[in-house]
Amino acid sequence: MAKEIEAAPSVQLSSIAVSETHGENSPYFAGWKAYDENPYNEASNPSGVIQMGLAENQVSFDLLEEYLETHPEASFRGRGATGFRENALFQDYHGLPTFRKAMASFMEEIRGGRAKFDPRRVVLTAGATAANELLTFVLADRGTAWLVPTPYYPGFDRDLRWRTGVNIVPINCDSSNNFQITTPALEAAYELAESMNIRVSGVLITNPSNPLGVTISRSVLEDILDFITRKNIHLVSDEIYSGSVFSSSEFVSVAEVLEAREYKGSERVHIVYSLSKDLGLPGFRVGTIYSYNDEVVTTARRMSSFTLISSQTQHLLACMLSDKKFTKNYIEVNRTRLRKRYERIIEGLRSAGIECLKGNAGLFCWMNLSPLLEKPTKEGELDLWRTMVHELKLNISPGSSCHCSEPGWFRVCFANMSEHTLEVALERIHKYMEQRRT
């Protein structure tokens, strides 16, 4: 008699482990795969895929490098090696006092001193990704929703929803008014959530906007503040690109608007910041939550135990950001270089017959390819995107992955490459547009 061998039942994993909410199967990430398999290299692979889908800032490395070379104490080298032992053991979730103070004053400097930041309200996290998720756990219960204006950063689908169980309901914005957020759009999103029996926990905006590359105007910020006050919900303002505004006077932080209102109703408002974009240090994992609400500060701080910043890194950055001469120079030079890049890419695209949304911030531009679409649909956009990735070998991000309501828009990053590489990319676009005309 044959003996039946029963396969042992395999051990079970959680729903989170098997869910697709990490979103890594979307086109946004598929383009990265094409790049990983065939990455452009000026010398060794000049016909490879140029990565224009990664919003990284590489234009000001030399300034950082110079600082670190000339300040060994920031890295516990030489005479500055004292304090290493205490630093190695330091895991207090309040953060290194010198670093917290330096962060607060850096945030003030970026806003041209137009808003004050109290170091005691700064909560530290290992990156803005962690900050956004943490705020979601603290402010929103499972099953509730954030209202988020479209188009938005594709990573939000994962960061705000995956472990938290919170939903995103879009606030629809379109090109008729340059994708600005309007009160009717806010109201419509709120009603949409209500009609689906979803309670709204708050509004989450990115200012300057990713992927638009535009700052939100003061009057729109006032409208948003009025809206969240009326509905008694939270506002999270992700200001991660605040230091990447091409001209300092054009950025209005929600912090300034609150100051002008004498902080009335400010306990509903929370700001997220990070050094990943402005300082070009995403690998360092440095993010902050700045909240005007004491309970949120205390709770978020306790929860930050899951995502503390390395004390070694805090020490290094405390040194660097406390150096006013360095920060003043860095902010100015970085801005200027980003603006030059932006102007170059806009000019290059325009001469090829392509228009972009008028931008004033960020590491990317919002390109309008809708005239090129075979069909004015999401499928038409993805077809064109595939052409971009596989024929032109440019990895750019399709607007549909950012939940844009109009097909044909693409986000194109320009700060994560050398000037030469940017020229190569523009050249490829020129050639393609010429081919199309003939």
Binding site: A8, V11, I16, E65, F84, N87, A88, G283, F306, L308
Partner: protein, 474 residues
């Protein structure tokens, strides 16, 4: 006002009619106002509310009190001596020395060739679960820590910003809200926070007793599992810490076999927290879960090991934790979750150099063991002198001390009173067993690796005074 109608119907009669109208109306108004007040003042989510409240566990309260009034031989000799934080300050001088001899190339590097020297290499986005070179260096380090007999596969390593997110991420991967893990007591108070706050997972204590040296019994495990099942609760795994925190004992080989067997029969996971594996100062043999799995033919897909550099290398501030899993699906999910808790790039770079210096690490681990043992011997001989009992331990940075002799009666209330006396009168912060879910009152965890020899003697002296006060007040 739908409430009003049925009540009106029930309460008949004239007086009843008035009451029948008034009561439901009042109730409605009361609930409505309460809801408004609730909405107006509630700012954090319901799930965050418990976290917003002040910490009540003596574990955290004690730590808080010490930070307000820390003992310092010179500046604050009447301050509170810290015996409640399992930190190791004994060997940081060795790391400091290593840094001063090696650091120029270790952290930032020079030039921009190869991409990973020069700042271009460490500033950009890195794989969230750690760069390959660090995983390789970590695998080698873990192997050295465990005596060189086991080899760890770098591709099974997921690096996290400390052991705290490591265990949380593992829970998110292995269990759904409402599921449970069986955890032998006494256990590290932090597990209550780390494993349950955001995951919705529950911990079921499985009590261990002094009568059998606080070693987990399979019968107790079985009983706890059955009770959970009767309640309709799904048990997803067992969490052991080995060396144990707070007891400091090592799990015998047979016990590990039995636990693995139990896990297989019930088809559940087993997590082994081995964060103190490099802090074994006694002569007992240590059996890592990895060693057992290497040797025997157990189903590995249910096994996971936790590790980190906070204890063995004293680098708690640098935030470096490890999930080592034998399950590919768990690895895939955990890797994606590390985006919320990655190791900082400059720290990764520094550690690649430090951990790759295997001869330094070998010397470090040996010296570390010796120094911990020295402090342990001083501490326990002090306890012996004052007539206080303790459990012989081979690992960890602490001693599991039996202070029931200082208690008038044998219950948790007395234990907490004693804790309070020790903290506020004797000025010594030790962690009471109840904070660790100990079923037997009177036990305290005392960490001795943050103190100098002299300060250990002062701590013992203060405990002695309390012992005397208690004897004389009987």
């Amino acid at each position: 006002m739908r409430l009003v109608v049925p009540l009106r119907g029930i309460v008949g009669g004239r007086g009843g009619l008035i009451l029948g109208t008034f009561v439901p109306c009042a109730l409605f108004c009361y609930l409505h106002i309460r809801r408004l007040r609730f909405l107006a003042t509630r700012r954090v989510s319901e799930r965050a509310e418990p976290i917003a409240k002040a910490e009540e566990s003596p574990y955290y309260v004690g730590l808080g009190r010490v930070s307000q009034d820390p003992f310092d031989e010179v500046a604050n000799p009447n301050g509170i001596i810290q015996l409640g934080l399992s930190e190791n300050r004994l060997c940081l001088d060795l790391i400091e020395e290593w840094l001063s001899e090696n650091l120029n190339g270790a952290m930032i590097g020079h030039g921009s060739d190869k991409g990973h020297l020069g700042i271009g290499g460490i500033t950009g986005y890195q794989p969230h679960d750690g760069v390959t070179e660090l995983k390789e260096a970590m695998a080698g380090f873990m192997s050295q820590v465990m005596g060189g007999e086991i080899s760890f596969d770098p591709s099974r390593i997921v690096l996290t910003a400390g052991a705290t997110p490591a265990i949380e991420i593992l829970c998110f991967c292995l269990a759904d809200p409402g599921d449970a893990f069986l955890v032998p007591t006494p256990y590290y108070p932090g597990f209550d926070r780390d494993m349950t706050w955001r995951t919705g997972v529950e911990l079921i204590p499985v009590h261990c007793h002094s009568a059998n040296n606080f070693i987990l019994s399979i019968a107790a495990l079985q009983q706890a599992f059955n009770q959970a099942r009767k309640r309709g609760q799904r048990v997803q795994g067992i969490l052991i810490s080995n060396p144990s925190n707070p007891v400091g004992n090592l799990l015998p080989q047979k016990t590990l076999h039995d636990i693995l067997d139990f896990a297989r029969k019930k088809n559940i996971h087993i997590i082994s927290d081995e964060i103190f594996a490099g802090s074994i100062h006694g002569n007992e043999e240590f059996f890592s879960l990895a060693k057992i799995l290497d040797a025997e033919n157990f189903d590995k897909s249910r096994a996971h090991i936790l590790y980190g550099l906070s204890k063995d290398l004293s680098l708690a501030g640098f935030r470096v934790g490890v999930i080592y899993s034998y399950n590919d699906d768990v690895l895939a999910a955990a890797k994606k979750l590390t985006r919320f808790s990655s190791v900082s790039a400059p720290t990764q770079r520094l550690l690649i150099s430090l951990l790759s210096d295997t001869s330094f690490i070998g010397r470090y681990l040996e010296t570390n063991r010796k120094r911990i043992r020295k402090m342990y011997d001083i501490f326990v001989s002090g306890l012996k002198e004052i007539g206080v009992k303790y459990v012989d331990s081979s690992g960890g940075l602490y001693c599991w001390v039996d202070m029931s002799g200082l208690m008038h009666s044998h219950n948790v209330k007395e234990e907490l009173e004693l804790w309070d006396k020790l903290l506020n009168v004797a000025k010594v912060n030790a962690t009471p067993g109840s904070a660790c879910h100990s079923i037997e009152p009177g036990w305290f965890r005392c960490c001795f690796t943050t103190l100098s020899e002299g300060n250990i003697r002062i701590a013992i002296e203060r405990i002695r005074k309390v012992a005397e006060m208690r004897k004389s007040s009987r």
